[in-house]
């Protein structure tokens, strides 16, 4: 333990400027917008320009969160062999830890008694300036202000739950102002005459006015606002995200942080006036409020960082050792190739690729970001507005709509939708009275059915961008057509060629084309799950990637595009056919699009692929089932498929699938280094040929998407796991959907950000290790060219290692340079005959990295 001072000086040195202060403080807010497009984000993005280790402790003080897992967690890991002494000693040497620290770290770890849990500091929101209101004035401002503020926010932003709308078309601040001015009935305390008057002023002036009343000392203003933000970060984050991306709402609203702050502070002043009269003393004038010196200090358990790193390295070392073996004795699919398949880099596709290759040695698979370079906004036939179908860092400039083929009727709503609709209607008085009886009895029957035999006919309501295989995509741009929102409608020919060429080049598929190339996107079905978007493809901004796969196949099959490709030096033979497909990672089902008109030979290959895929899906289901505790350890393929399909449809299942849980690796390289390697669904695999990229340009553009997407996923899991109450959304079970934007606990809680407990409970918080198959200098140079990406690695938010394609040497980024790592000290990876043989040993925990295919 050592005391460390954190630069949380409550008083700011500079003169207070509202706009700048708000902009600065907004950095500490979690970045989570509407839950319908859940995008994995780095929860501590405000700290990203600082080293990991300092940041977690500072965040711990700021948010009142745990910095690492509890000490006992590492003790357990040590006993189970998931944290090795040898790794810990290596970390000591690497960090040049002083001797007493080494001894202490080892002694505590080896102790047979579990260490009791150390409480984290309380967090600024609970232990700062504002806590004085309750402690010395006896006014619990938060519980007075927040219920009404949340009600106002949720009512104003509501996207379709309430039937009576907020009666104003102005921005939030003006709307609330008009409401309290117009209403004859009181809305305490906003309707107090002194407070109503304030609404005539612009929001900035009101904030300053309130701060003067509440705080009085301008050096403390920023700190006060910071604590206001931290007291309910969920709603503030939502407001900030909506302000920055108004398109994320279906019904647009004008709101920003200033407006909400103005209303909240007005309420605080109003309550103080009500409770303590107009003459109450502002915080800045009280002796007891000045944040004491001690609270800027707190204790850092310096062993935790060491243990955590050793814990991570125990896993990394297995992986790196295995990769060296793989590189030295490479294996790959045997030629001639039967079929080729592109998958998303997603860790959930890691195992299905392994099974496909095990079943058909001639099958070749690639991993590429699941949007297949098709950067568009997609509007399905039944969608009210277009949604973004490409990763966060990519800006979508194109719009593609789903259209009806001739003479087809628009599909009517499914019976389950109709039922949901009717039950919603019963929330009104008269209709409710008329229908509650009959519908009530009917819902009793439905309840029984849904419990006894869950199936998708239950109110499983598919989300946006599910695609109907029989409709057409309006993919080709006519002239220079632009949509009202300013998107290009469809792609021009050269733009199509570019996109197809990008994917093929990045994956280095420029010759030896198979007759059938399947582009497998992925999505995930779930029922009764507000976080459904978090289960879909991260590279498609939390949507299923079906439109992308389909669009890619259509483009790549176009003869004119093929011509354009051959001009770029990629000769796709006429006999080759691209087929779009979607893999439902929850249900283990694959749908194929546009499979009409195959030649007999293509058809034969495709049928072969389809059969192999069916088998692979069943085996994959078995592998996934071992993680579900309620499923028996030994389970047959048919039972396993039934189980995962039941899960996706069951109302009572908070774990339709485990999503990215246990993710820890990104491997960028040729398939041979991961071929036949059992990575336990922990790796995101990107295909990349180092030999075709000597200047690192391709790598640079790959990293541009990989680092923020994979890093965001990984860190969100890590932090949601370390402190599920602060960084995560807590348990899912009491969640209540609020305003259709997010979930809250009960009706008066703040919006919850991050991942619910059910998604992260089996996750080991390990930072992402990105391994690139490339020479160290080239890889480092490629990374350094993008300072925003380099920040991730430089500050330790992810690990960056390379494996040289020529010497098979491992290099690791450490303190600004790549250092060579000696892998010979680590034991060789164990081997197994195949995945099934390995899994037959039975375990629910993480398995080590294993080389499959018998002894080597």
């Amino acid at each position: 333990m050592k005391a460390r001072r954190l630069n949380f000086d409550p008083r700011s040195k500079e003169p207070f400027e509202l706009k700048k202060a708000i902009e600065r403080l907004a950095h500490w807010l979690p970045s989570q917008g509407p839950v319908k497009d859940f995008i994995h984000q780095h929860p501590l993005h405000g700290f990203q320009n600082q080293p990991f280790e300092d940041s977690v402790w500072q965040a711990s003080r700021m948010f009142g969160a745990f910095a690492y897992m509890p000490a006992a967690y590492y003790q357990h890991a040590y006993r189970d062999g998931r944290l090795l002494k040898s790794e810990l000693e290596r970390i000591f040497d690497l960090r040049q830890s002083p001797m007493p620290l080494r001894e202490k770290a080892l002694r505590r770890l080896e102790s047979r008694i579990d260490e009791p849990l150390e409480q984290p500091p309380k967090g600024l929101a609970k232990d700062g300036l504002r806590s004085r209101w309750k402690a010395s004035e006896g006014v619990d401002l938060e519980s007075l202000v927040q219920p009404l503020l949340f009600k106002l926010l949720s009512a104003y932003l509501d996207q379709g739950i309430s039937t009576r709308r907020f009666p104003s078309s102005f921005d939030f601040y003006e709307g609330v102002g008009n409401l309290v001015r117009d209403s004859w009935l009181p809305l305490a305390p906003l309707s107090d005459s002194e407070i109503v008057k304030q609404f005539a002023k612009p929001s900035e002036e009101v904030i300053l006015f309130c701060l003067e009343k509440l705080v009085g000392d301008s050096t403390l203003y920023e700190r006060y606002l910071h604590e206001v933000f931290l007291s309910h970060p969920g709603w503030y984050a939502m407001v900030y995200m909506i302000d920055h991306d108004p398109k994320s709402l279906m019904a647009r609203r004008q709101i920003n942080l200033e407006q909400v702050l103005a209303v909240e502070l007005l309420m605080e002043v109003g309550w103080m006036w009500r409770k303590r009269g107009a003459g109450f003393r502002p915080l800045g004038e009280r002796e007891d409020c000045v944040v004491s010196k001690e609270s800027a200090y707190f204790f850092i358990d310096d062993c935790l960082a060491l243990w955590h790193e050793a814990f991570e390295w125990t896993h990394y070392s297995e992986v790196l050792r295995a990769l060296v073996e793989q590189a030295k004795f490479p294996r790959s699919s045997t030629s001639p190739v039967s079929a080729q398949a592109f998958f998303c880099i997603d860790d959930r596709e890691c195992s299905i690729r392994r099974y496909l290759e095990e079943l058909d040695p001639q099958l070749q698979t690639f991993g590429t970001a699941g949007f297949f370079a098709i950067d568009f906004m997609f509007q399905g036939l039944n969608d009210s507005h277009p949604v973004k179908q490409c990763p966060l860092p990519v800006t979508a400039r194109f719009l593609v709509r789903e259209v009806l083929p001739d003479k087809k009727k628009r599909r009517k709503d499914l019976p389950s939708h109709r039922f949901h609709l009717q039950t919603r209607a019963t929330n009104t008085l008269i209709r409710g009275w008329l229908t509650a009886q009959v519908l009530g009895i009917w819902s009793g029957v439905k309840l029984v059915i849904s419990i006894v035999k869950p199936s998708l006919a239950q109110p499983t309501l598919s989300a946006l961008s599910r695609i109907d295989a029989y409709n057409d995509l309006a993919l080709y741009r006519k002239g220079d057509e632009k949509s009202p929102e300013g998107y290009w409608v469809g792609y021009s020919l050269s733009e199509m060629v570019d996109r197809v060429a990008t994917v093929l080049k990045f994956n280095h598929l420029v010759k030896d084309f198979a007759e059938v190339i399947v582009m497998v996107a992925h999505g995930s079905s779930s029922t009764n799950n507000p976080h459904f978007a978090a289960y879909d493809c991260g590279a498609c901004s939390g949507r299923a990637g079906a439109p992308n796969a389909r669009a890619f196949a259509i483009m790549a099959n176009d003869p004119q595009v093929r011509k354009g490709l051959s001009e770029k030096g990629i000769d796709v033979p006429v006999t080759t056919r691209f087929i779009g497909a979607i893999h439902d990672t929850a249900r283990e089902e694959v749908d194929y699009f546009d499979v009409g008109g195959l030649t007999p030979s293509q058809s034969r290959v495709f049928e072969g692929f389809r059969t192999t895929m069916e088998k692979a899906l069943a085996m994959n289901a078995v592998e996934r089932c071992r993680r579900f505790e309620l499923v028996p350890e030994k389970i047959g393929q048919k039972k396993a498929l039934e189980e995962v399909q039941k899960r996706s449809a069951a109302l009572f299942e908070p774990r339709p699938e485990l999503n990215h849980a246990t993710n820890s690796l990104t491997i960028v390289g040729r398939r041979p280094i991961t071929y036949g390697l059992f990575l336990d669904r922990r790796a995101l695999l990107q295909s990349y040929n180092p030999l075709a990229d000597l200047d690192g340009k391709i790598l640079q553009s790959l990293l541009g998407a990989l680092v923020p997407v994979c890093g965001g996923i990984n860190l969100q899991y890590v932090f949601s796991r370390i402190d599920n109450e602060v960084y995560g959304a807590g348990t899912k079970l009491p969640h209540n959907v609020s305003a259709l934007l997010g979930v809250a606990n009960g009706v008066e809680g703040d919006l919850r950000t991050g991942l619910p407990a059910q998604m992260v409970e089996i996750h080991d918080p390990i930072r992402l290790l990105m391994v690139v198959e490339q020479e160290a200098e080239i890889a480092l140079a490629a990374l350094k060219r993008e300072p925003a990406l380099f920040e991730w690695v430089e500050n330790g938010w992810m690990r960056y290692a390379t494996i040289s394609p020529s010497t098979h040497e491992i290099s690791l980024f450490f303190e600004g340079k790549m250092i060579s790592v000696d892998v010979s000290a680590w034991p060789k990876p164990p081997t197994a005959k195949n995945s099934a043989a390995l899994l037959a040993r039975g375990s629910r925990n993480n398995l080590p990295v294993v080389r499959l295919g018998g002894e080597w």
Binding site: K151, I161, L179, S183, D383, P459, F652, N736, G746, V747
Partner: protein
């Protein structure tokens, strides 16, 4: 035949409660064992229910009376154990068996890996037992027992996430409404003693002789009975003016919200009204009052529900509005239709709550299918109304009809005001000594003056002490003492009035003493760890001392006269005695009963729930079954350690 029915019905109440106790004591760790036991119990419950229904049908669907014999018989007072089976019972038994069966099955998977898995099923089973007792009860006293059991299990499930602030606070709020409205039943029972000079069974209520007695009693007592019944029903069924608690009760896991506030518990009020139908229907004003209350609720809840922008709140208000309509139907005398409506509403709301998490996906799809709703425009049915009307109406909805403020101002504030005054008076050194001295002086002064005076002083003391306990912000043990003493004072005063109340008074005083001891033991464990614990902060003892919290909880139940303590019968006996004293004593007794229970519950919630200590997620689930690390509390010592380190 009758013998079998006796056993069947008794086991219907006994088996769920016994399984709950078994689960709690055994403290099984393995989920399978817990949920299978619970599931087996619900299966047995359903089987028994079906058998009973079948027998009832076979017997020509006539109301059946099952008399088990008196539990207590003192003088003209007797507490009978008697059950009644008629159409109403059968419908409620069926609903309970069906919905609880489904929800237990649902929760078997839904609650997987949730800390408190066992607790959830224990509470649900207690609820099932209470609900069965409520439906079967043949007398008002027995119904009250079931009523209390349902109330307490509801309280515990709202506070299921007990280390969080909002669940703890809202559980207390709900309990305070329940507790206040329970006085309706208590005084109602007393009033029925007054009218019939006995505690009649429900089947007797409609008999001609009792109806004649009812008419003889005059409109006054009849109206009183109607209002009291309605008070109890309105509290439980979230009717005007108590509607505000129901959305706030949605803090537990979704299935528990579905079973309580969607399906069963919310209809208990309507059940009570149907049971007491012959009584309030005999009054000229009765149907009008019930109908008006139901209609008012229906209108307000619908208005407020429409402006709710969260899904569970919306369903809660919709459900409350429909129960309002059921009240109206009852007032019109459509009992059969009301029963049908009630069952439909129960299934529907239960289902709606269970599927509420899918609302986002649903609305997205629905809008795409041209279902209207949000399309970017500002759709409102109010466009024709003038602007100020719209705004006022919206503010009315946003403030949920000002019901909470109203109830607070009328009921809560005066008690707090008295309490604060008492608190100032009694603020001396030590805790129990000045209070005991005060009580002693009260008695010694009063004895020579005359028993009426003495008793009056004691009653005043009781009211003062209990409100003092409720408004106390200081040490929890002090509030505990005050509340206990208030109960003792109350019993003592009634004894002074009427020496025949000796048995009742000694039962109450005895159980108060036991409960006090248990509670003080638990609270001592709290102050041992946190010497500066005060009621103005939530202490969260349950996080590090389960036994201590349990002791406080049991102490609270015993003093508050929960049906596990002899105090339950004692209170009833005392009430019986007040017939000879006067209605003012009854009202005060009921008031003290309500405030006291509330004060004790508040002490329990504030010292045991919503702690500031953080507990991380469990890891390595299987092994954590055996090696559980208990968190160590040390928040106050941080700055001190910092100081010493800096030196």
């Amino acid at each position: 035949m009758i013998f079998t029915l006796h056993t069947l019905t008794a086991s219907l109440v006994f088996i769920p409660l016994a399984t709950a106790v078994l689960l709690f004591i055994a403290g099984f760790r393995r989920e399978k064992v817990i949920s299978n036991l619970a599931l087996a119990t619900t299966a047995v419950n359903s089987l028994l229910t079906c058998t009973i229904i079948a027998i009832w049908f076979a017997g020509g669907r006539e109301p059946l009376d099952l008399f088990f014999g008196p539990l207590v018989r003192i003088g003209d007072y007797h507490f009978d154990l008697s059950f009644q089976i008629d159409r109403l019972t059968v419908v409620f038994l069926f609903l309970t068996a069906f919905i609880s069966g489904i929800v237990v099955k649902y929760s078997q998977y839904y609650m997987h890996r949730e800390p408190g898995y066992n607790r959830f099923f224990v509470n649900t089973l207690i609820f099932i037992g209470g609900m069965n007792l409520l439906s079967l009860a043949g007398t008002l006293d027995l119904l009250f027992a079931g009523w209390e059991i349902v109330g307490i299990s509801s309280f515990l499930l709202i506070a299921f996430y007990r280390d969080r602030l909002h669940p703890a606070r809202h559980a207390l709020r709900t309990y305070s409404v329940y507790r206040f409205c329970d006085t309706g039943l208590l005084v109602g029972a007393w009033l029925s003693h007054l009218v019939w000079h006995a505690s009649p069974t429900f089947s007797d209520l409609a008999s001609p002789s009792l109806q004649i007695m009812l008419r003889h009693a005059g409109e006054g007592p009849l109206l009183g009975l109607t209002l009291l019944t309605l008070l109890a029903a309105a509290g439980k069924s979230a009717q005007f003016p108590f509607t505000f608690w129901i959305p706030r009760a949605m803090e537990g896991p979704t299935p528990s919200s579905a079973v309580f506030y969607g399906a069963l518990s919310i209809h208990a009020g309507a059940f009570l009204l149907m049971r007491m139908f012959p009584v309030w229907n005999a009054s000229i004003y009765g149907p009008y009052i019930v109908g008006t209350l139901g209609f008012t609720t229906a209108v307000i809840s619908t208005l407020v529900g429409h402006a709710q922008s969260n899904i569970k709140g919306q369903i809660a208000y919709a459900s409350s509005a429909q129960v309002g309509l059921i009240f109206v139907e009852l007032a019109l005398g459509w009992e059969g239709f009301a029963l049908f409506h009630l069952s439909g509403n129960a299934f529907l709301r239960c289902f709606q709550l269970l599927i509420s998490p899918s609302i986002i996906a649903f609305v997205l799809r629905w809008q795409g299918l041209g279902g209207g709703g949000v399309k970017g425009g500002w759709f409102s049915i109010d466009t024709k109304l003038p602007r100020r009307w719209v705004a006022s109406l919206y503010v009315f909805c946003l403030c949920e009809g000002y019901l909470e403020q109203m109830v607070r101002t009328v009921l809560w504030k005066p008690v707090c005001w008295i309490g604060a005054a008492v608190g100032r008076l009694a603020a001396g050194p030590g805790t129990i000594i000045p209070l005991a001295v005060l009580v002693g002086i009260g008695i010694s002064v009063s004895l020579p003056v005359g028993k009426e005076w003495g008793a009056s002083v004691l009653v005043a003391l009781a009211v003062g002490l209990s409100s003092g306990a409720l408004a106390s912000w200081g040490k929890s043990s002090r509030a505990w003492d005050m509340a206990t003493l208030a109960g003792v004072c109350m019993a003592g005063s009634i004894y002074l009035f009427d020496h025949e109340a000796a048995v009742g008074a000694s039962l109450v005083i005895g159980s108060n003493f036991v409960g006090w001891g248990l509670g003080r033991w638990g609270l001592a464990r709290l102050t041992h760890r946190r010497p500066y614990a005060r009621l103005h902060n939530y202490q969260g003892m349950v996080q590090w001392d389960g036994l201590g919290s349990f002791l406080v909880f049991i102490g609270f139940l015993i003093i508050a006269g929960f049906p596990i303590s002899p105090g339950f019968v004692g209170e009833d006996l005392l009430l019986h005695s007040t017939i000879r004293i006067g209605s003012w004593a009854t009202c005060l007794l009921a008031l003290v009963f309500a405030i006291n229970g509330l004060a004790l519950c508040r002490v329990f919630v504030r010292s045991c729930f919503a702690g500031s200590m953080k507990v991380p997620m469990e890891w390595n689930w299987e092994s954590s079954q055996t090696q559980h690390t208990t968190p160590r509390p040390f928040p106050p010592s941080l700055p001190e350690r910092a100081r010493s380190a800096l030196r």
